[in-house]
Point group: D2
Chain length 305, copies 4
C-alpha cells in the first residue's frame, strides 16, 4: 500500500504545473504550488503517508459534510431537509439563480455555499462562540486531533471579501430559510472554512466515514451510521462542485474538495484518503489531488460503481 | 382641467378596494387604503389638485430616476453606463438572476433595485452624510419644497429587513460594480427611499422633467435637458416594474411608481402628474393611481405614441 | 429635408466598414456591405430618398409589428394578449429561457421570435396559402406597393435551417400557446420574413403608422388608430432586440429592425423613415442604419421623449 | 430471497393509491394503477419474481443508459462526451434552460431528454431502420429476450404529441450538437422509448450491469466493463430525474426510472432488480416501485454508500 501511494504521488507530480491556486483571497493565492501530499487511513487503523502530508491548509468546503452531520445531530432530519434540498445541481457552487427560480428558494443541497450557510444556521449554541466551539470540538473528535484550530488571517480575509457569500446569506434570510442573525451565521461559516488541517487529519475523518461512524483506531462510535451514509451520498452527487458527475465516472468515490487544494475521499468499509495540492482547475478542484485519487482508484479498484 | 382631474379621481375611486398595500415592512402595511390623491402641474406653472393630494408618503422607487440624474451630474455618462445597462428586463424589480447569467454582472438598468443601488454608489461626497445631504438638496430643488426630509421609522425598518437589497448590493460589490462600502451605500439607498413626499411634490418634479429641466414656476434651469430625456426614456421602458410594457400600451407616458403607492408621470412639454393610493397590484403598482393616469391619458390624449 | 437626409446618409457612410451581415443563412451573408439607403415619407405625402433606397432586401423581423396588426384585426385584443405578453425582455430575440421560467410559458412580447410565431398562428384563413395571401395583401396595402412578394430562395433557406425557430414553435405548441399545426405556422412565418422590400416600402408603412393608420397619399384609413398606437409602443420597448433601451435613449423613436439590415422608424404625426444597410452589430441591428436615424433624430429633434 | 421480495411487494401495495399514471399521451394514462410487479435476477443466475412481473409496459427513459452504451460502442468516449456532459442537473428532465445558459449548449448529461436525443443521433446505421434494428438487437441481447419489440400505438402517440422533445431536438440541432436529420433521430428516440418490456426483462438487463457486462446465465461477456460502470454512475447521479439526490440518500442504488412506471436498479456484483407500477409522483417516478426498492435496500443492506 505504501508503495502504491508513493507511486500515485509520483504520478500526480507530473500535473503540478497545471492550474493555479485560488485567488479570491491573498492568503490562498500565495500558497506554494509545488506542494503535494497524500494520506491513507484504513478502517483497521493502518496509516500510510506520502509527500507533504503534514503541511497544513484551510479546510474550506471539505468542512461542509462535517457541519452537516452536526446540524443533523442538533435537529431532526425532516427539519434540515425541509429547508435545504437533496438534489445535485449543474450550477456553480456560488450560484444564486436556483434560489430565485425554484419555488421555495430552498438551496438545492448542503454542499453548495447557500445550502452550507443555511446548515450552519441550524447548529445549536447560546452564543456565536458556543456554536463555533461545538463545531470545532466535533472536528477534533472526528480527526482525532485535539489541536485543530482556525487560521485568523484567512478568517479575517474571508470575512472582509465575502461579498458573494453575504449575498447568498441575505438572500436565504429574506426567503425565511436561514435561522438567526445573518452576520453571526457568516462568522461561523467563515471560521469553519478557515480551520487548518493536513492530509492526515482529513484522511482520518474520511476513515470514520468509511467505517460508518467508528474510530479506525479505537473502534468507538463517533457518529451515527445513518448520518455517515447521508453525507457520503451527498459527496458522490455534489462533492466536487459542478465536476461531480465527471469525478464519479473517473474515480467513483464519495469525495469533497476545498478551494485551498484539499480533497477528502472515502472508500466505504476500506479506507479514508486525504490529498492536498494548491493548484486548482477551473471548477475549483485540486488538479494533482484528483490525479492521486484517479491513480489509487484504478490501481486498487476502489470505485463504488 | 380641474374638472377632468376630479373626474379621474372619482373614476379611480371605484378601484380602491382592489389590491393591498405593500407588506414587506410594517410601516407601509398600515397605510390607509382609502387614500387617493392626484396633482397636475403644467409646464406653464398652472396647478390642479384633487383628493388627498397633500397626504405624505415615502417616495420609494420614484426616487430612482432622480438619483440617476444626480449620479450623471457627478460622473461621466460613459462611466455610469459602463456599470449599469440601458435595457428593460422581463424580470421582477428585485431579481438577481440576470446579474449571474449576463456576462458582465451589470445590472440591466437603473430602475431595478440592483441598478439603483449601483447608481447611488456613484454619488459624490466625502462622508455618507454629505452624500445624502447632496441628494436631499437636489430632491428639494426639483420639488421646490425646502422641507422635504426622510421618515426615520421607515428608514430604520427598511434597513432592518432589507435582506434582499443587501443580497443584491453584496452581489454587485463582488462583481466589482458597486463603488465604496456596501453598508454605506445601502444606508444612502434606504434613506433615499424613505424621503417623504406628497402628490404635489412629485407632480412638480415631473413638470421639471416635462419642461426638459426648467422650473415650471420660474423658468430657471434646474437640470440638463439631456438628462431629463434620458430618465424619461427609462421611465417608459422600465418605470413600472415588469408591467412597464402593458402601461406603455394603456397609458403611454413616462412614469415611475413606488411601493408606497405613489406614481410620478410626465407628459413631455405639457405637464407633470403625481398620484397616490396605497393599494398595489401583484407587480407593485398602485391600482387606483394607474386608473387616474389611464383616465387622464385617454381623456386628454396624452400618450406619446 | 432632402439635404438633411443626404447629410445623414453621408455621415453614416463612415460606419459602413463596421460589423458584418447576418450569416445564419447564405442568402443574407452574401449581401453587399457597401449598400446604404434611406427614405423619408412625411404624413403629408412628401417623399425624400437617398442612396440605395430602391435596393430590395428581405423584411425579416420588420414584419412582426405588421403581422401583429393583422392578428389583432382577426382576433380580440384580449385573446391575443392572453397568449402573448406585453413586456420587454432583457434576453436575446431567440431566447427560450423565459418560456420555461415564466409560469404560463407565455412569450413575453410579440417582437421576440416566440411571440411573433404565436401571433402568426392566430391569423385567419382556411388554408396556409389563404393565410399568407391575406398577410401579403395587407403588406401591399400598407406599403402602397402591389408588387410586394417573397423571396423563394430566402424562404427555402430559412425553412431548411430554422432549427431554433422550430424549437421555439414546438415549445409553445407544447405549452398550448400556438394554434394549429406547427409546420404550417412556420411556413407562414418564414414566408413573411422573406418578403422583399426596399427603403421606400418600409418608409411608407412607417408613415401610415405615423399618421395613426391613414394613407399619407390618399388620407384613406388603412388600419385602426388603436392598433397603430399599440405597435408603436412595442416598437419603442422591444423593437430593436435587446438594444431597445439604448436605442430609445439615443434615438427615441418607435423602430423595428430586421437581420437583413433594414430598420423601419416612425415619428408620430410627422413621418415614416426606412433605412437599409446589411452590416449588423452583435445585437443584430444595422450599424449604418442606426447612424442615419441618430443623425436625423438629433438634427430634426425627433425624439418622442 | 423470494420471501423478502414478496414482503417488499406487499409493503409497497400500501402506496398503490398515491400518485397517478403519466398523462401526456392517452396510452400511458389508461394504465391500470393497481398493477405492481417486481423481479430480482442475481449475478449467479438465480431469479425471483413477485406480483405482475410479466405484465408488459413501455421502457421509456429506462432505455437511456442502454442506448448510451450502444452509442459509446459506436463512437469514441471522447466524441460522445464532447457533445453531451457528465454532470447532474437540478432541473426537470425536459428542461431547455441549461441548453441556453451554458456556454456550449451541451446537454448536461445523457439521462435528460436533450442528452438522450443527442446520444441517439450518434448511433451508427445507414438508414433509420438499420439504426433502430441495431438498437433493438442490443436490447434483446441484454435482456436475453429475442421477442422484444416496440409498441406501435405508443410510438405513434409519442410522435404526434412530442412537441417538447421536438423543441429540444431542434435546439441542439441548431447548436450543432445533434448529428443527422432531426426527424429521423426523433423517430429512433420515440421508437426506443416505446419498446415493451416486463419487470423480468429489466431485471436481467440490470443483472448484466451488476456483473459488469457478463450474462448472469451464461457468463458470456455482453458489454464492456468500463461502459457498465459509466452508466451505473449516471444512474446514481441522474437516473431518477430531479429526485436522484433524494433517491441516492434513501435507497442508494444505481437506478433508472421511466414514465410508464418501470424502474431498473442494479446492485453492483449482486443483482439486478426490475419493478413496475404505473402511478407516478410529481417528479415522474413510480411511487410503489420506489417503495419496493426502499424496502429491499433497507432489508438487504444494498446501498452502495
Amino acid at each position: 500500500m505504501q508503495r502504491i501511494l508513493d507511486e500515485a504521488v509520483e504520478y500526480a507530480r507530473n500535473f503540478l504545473h497545471q492550474g493555479k491556486p485560488a485567488s479570491y483571497i491573498p492568503e490562498l493565492a500565495k500558497a506554494d504550488p509545488s506542494l503535494l501530499g497524500a494520506a491513507i487511513v484504513e478502517t483497521n487503523g493502518s496509516t500510510y503517508f506520502s509527500g507533504d502530508f503534514e503541511k497544513s491548509f484551510t479546510i474550506q468546503s471539505i468542512s461542509k459534510p462535517i457541519a452537516l452531520i452536526l446540524s443533523l445531530k442538533d435537529n431532526s432530519e425532516n427539519f434540515v431537509f425541509s429547508r435545504v434540498g437533496m438534489e445535485p445541481t449543474g450550477d456553480a457552487f456560488n450560484s444564486i439563480i436556483k434560489l430565485e427560480t425554484e419555488e421555495s428558494s430552498k438551496p438545492l443541497n448542503p454542499m453548495i455555499n447557500a445550502g452550507a450557510i443555511a446548515i450552519d444556521s441550524f447548529i445549536k449554541g447560546k452564543t456565536p462562540d458556543e456554536k463555533f466551539n461545538r463545531l470545532l470540538k466535533f472536528f477534533r473528535q472526528l480527526s482525532h486531533n485535539p489541536d485543530l484550530t482556525y487560521d485568523h488571517d484567512v478568517y479575517r480575509s474571508e470575512d472582509e471579501t465575502g461579498f458573494r457569500n453575504r449575498a447568498l446569506a441575505n438572500f436565504i434570510e429574506d426567503a425565511g430559510i436561514l435561522l438567526g442573525d445573518v452576520e453571526e451565521v457568516l462568522e461561523l461559516y467563515f471560521k469553519q472554512c478557515s480551520i487548518k488541517v493536513c492530509c492526515k487529519d482529513i484522511a482520518i475523518i474520511a476513515a470514520v466515514l468509511a467505517s460508518n461512524g467508528l474510530s479506525p483506531f479505537t473502534n468507538n462510535r463517533i457518529c451515527e451510521r445513518h448520518y455517515t451514509r447521508l453525507v457520503k451520498t451527498f459527496m458522490v452527487t455534489c462533492g466536487m462542485y459542478d465536476a461531480s458527475g465527471e469525478f464519479a465516472v473517473k474515480v467513483g468515490l464519495p469525495a469533497k474538495s476545498g478551494v485551498a487544494g484539499g480533497i477528502m475521499a472515502t472508500v466505504p468499509d476500506r479506507m479514508g484518503i486525504g490529498v492536498y495540492s494548491p493548484n486548482l482547475d477551473v471548477k475549483g478542484n485540486s488538479i494533482a489531488g484528483m490525479k492521486v485519487l484517479e491513480y489509487l482508484s484504478t490501481r486498487l479498484d476502489l470505485s463504488i460503481f
